[in-house]
Amino acid sequence: MSKDNKKTSLRYRLLWPIRNEKWQPITIPVASILFSFIVAAIVILLLGKNPIQAFYNLFQGAGIFPKATYAGYKSMLTDFLSLLDAMTPLVFASLAVAVALRAGLFNIGVSGQMLFSGFIATIIVGYSGLDAFVAKPLVLLIGMIAGGLMGGLVGWLKYKFNIHEVVTTIMLNYIAQYVISFFIHNYYIDPVSRQSKYITEAARLTLVNFEFANLKMDIPLGFILAIAVAIFVKFLLDKTVVGFEIKAVGSNRDAAKYTGIKVGSNMILAMIISGGLAGLAGVTYYLGDFASIQPKVLTSLGFDSIAVALLGNSHPIGIIFSSFLISIIDQGSTYMSSQAGIRQEIASVIIGLILLFSACGAYVKHKVSRLKEKEVDRKDSES
């Protein structure tokens, strides 16, 4: 009996970092991140490479640590700005998933909504030659409206015809992909790159090769907006009636109905907001870094964002941190693979592991509280 007690107490002591319930929303993701890096380190060791070196290269590539040498006009700052550039659409897309999740809806169509809004903004503003001060806000506005319409359609079909949102969004993903590919191939194709023609610099949401202090950097204008929108979404969900109603519909549809909340219109509203956020992701993606659309390809970012949203506990501020981490691993992987000679794909394996371990979060929480109870019992019996 006493031996068993000791074992419990050892396990209890080992778990000290994640014991405090108040901090668990932060400590459990951090623990799963550490754990997945340990597993990845073992894999890299098995491949006969140095894991510490590899991880250091990963962070160097993402602009967190300085590289040994830089090409002309490049520095750690330019790398870091590229990281933020890549992170921007991911923040928007994850927020889109999170808002829908809070309303109990599963928006699997973020990729399609991104493509649609990116395309609409590209053809209306991208080739128009408008002035930058008009074009850039217009791009954001059009992206938001286009995405919101598509999201709203999903919500409306669900409300009006009881069509499951997972089916609708999957179907719309395919439809958007093929129809847009048709239009690009017939009207907007660049014969050399086999993509849509590049949009004007004025319409782009990333300032490319901006020269400053002898550096050429890409400045992601959308990034500040992404942070602001994340804070706004947090405010919307936590402090407003709209947010409360959306969350009420998400946590218990019947209870919400009995208290007089309009379930249907709140579902549609949540999908419009979600789609609008996906639209912002679309324009910062297609009219930011890339400036062109590859036909017949749905970006995997829309699906990754589901995981990023979940890693961030569907919490807007958590999402900023989780997208930051995932973007670091994504962006740094090229440099890591060239420096350490490890295949780039290991980066996505690490991301997958992080998500896998964080999915076990609820179980860990449950186990820890069980251990805690046991520990209290043990202390009681001792005294």
Partner: protein, 319 residues
């Protein structure tokens, strides 16, 4: 006309068997968005085994089809253990678990494919070449007008799928296990009260879905794509989920949904070719299955209802 039926069937049937797996899992109460990952991982294990065994024995990889099929089913089943453990033992959110598994499957299989290619074959390649499995025609029956196409250029896997599908239908609706499985998704407490372990039922349902998805993935790899690469993740797993929701979580209506997908897909291609339009126009006809589905759902989904306990973590103490 014949090509519509031939191509349509060879696409619809793997989709159907994957959807059956999904029905098993969802009917037992476990939301399964992981079909995409299961089919990809299953196809990876199958393709890897086929390529490695062919390499060791010197046989042609095209002839390894049945070996690959068996390994794919084992692989899909093995991978589905993760979903089962996460969502049943660890009580994780089933949607999260499914999405994570899809991402992990894509990452792991692309990573391992390049590693194995580099280690065993010394080639920097991200795919396993498989070729297309041989097809057969049943002579007498193939001469019947229209229906004859069903018996022309049949992939062997289509026969296997039909046999398994009939068996799966029987098990789900006519056996004690099937009854318990369906009850687990509607009212797990009553199943528990009858002295049956709900966790075990759900666990086996998820494993079945993994096995059938692996089979489907291998069929896709040996027919339309003729290789294993990350291109196997075309979203067919999600299409299967759409089909089973369209079919209201029942096997026969789901078959109808899958056939609709298959024939609309091949029909669209056929129309585009018959009208001799430039190739860029085929994209417009490719949307046919998806638009049709949405339109039909507007008429048919009013009465659709998911299993009552779907996605709910089973809690013994709950009333």
């Amino acid at each position: 006309m014949d090509t519509i039926i031939i191509d349509g069937l060879s696409f619809a049937l793997p989709l159907f068997i994957m959807a059956i797996g999904g029905i098993y899992s969802e009917k037992s109460g476990i939301t399964n968005l992981a079909l995409e990952g299961f089919q990809g991982f299953g196809a990876f294990i199958g393709a890897m085994s086929a390529v490695l065994i062919a390499n060791a024995s010197g046989a042609a990889v095209e002839n390894m089809f049945y070996v690959a099929l068996i390994f794919a089913m084992i692989g899909g089943m093995g991978f589905s253990v993760i979903h089962a453990v996460l969502s049943i033992k660890f009580k994780a959110n089933q949607v999260i678990s499914g999405v994570v598994i899809n991402i992990l499957a894509l990452a792991l299989t692309t990573f391992l494919t390049t590693q194995i290619n580099a280690l065993v074959f010394g080639a920097a390649s991200d795919k396993f070449r498989l070729g297309v499995s041989e097809r057969f025609t049943i002579d007498g029956l193939a001469n019947i007008p229209v229906i004859g196409a069903v018996f022309t250029d049949v992939y062997p896997f289509e026969v296997i799928i039909i046999v398994i599908a009939i068996f799966a239908w029987y098990v789900l609706y006519k056996t004690k296990f099937g009854l318990r499985l369906r009850a687990s998704g509607e009212n797990p407490q009553s199943v528990d009260a009858a002295g049956v372990n709900v966790y075990k039922i759900r666990f086996s349902a998820v494993l079945i879905s993994g096995m059938l998805s692996g089979l489907a993935g291998m069929c896709f790899a040996y027919s339309i794509s003729a290789q294993f690469s990350s291109g196997i993740y075309m979203g067919y797993g999600f299409l299967a989920i759409a089909a089973l929701i369209f079919g209201n979580w029942r096997i026969l209506p789901t078959l109808a949904a899958c056939l609709l997908f298959g024939f609309a897909k091949s029909g669209g291609m056929y129309i585009a070719q018959a009208m001799a339009l430039p190739s860029s126009f085929t994209d417009l006809f490719m949307i046919l299955p998806y638009v049709l589905t949405l339109l039909l759902l507007i008429f048919f989904s009013k009465t659709n209802r998911a299993p009552r306990a779907l996605g709910e973590i089973y809690d013994k103490g709950k009333r």
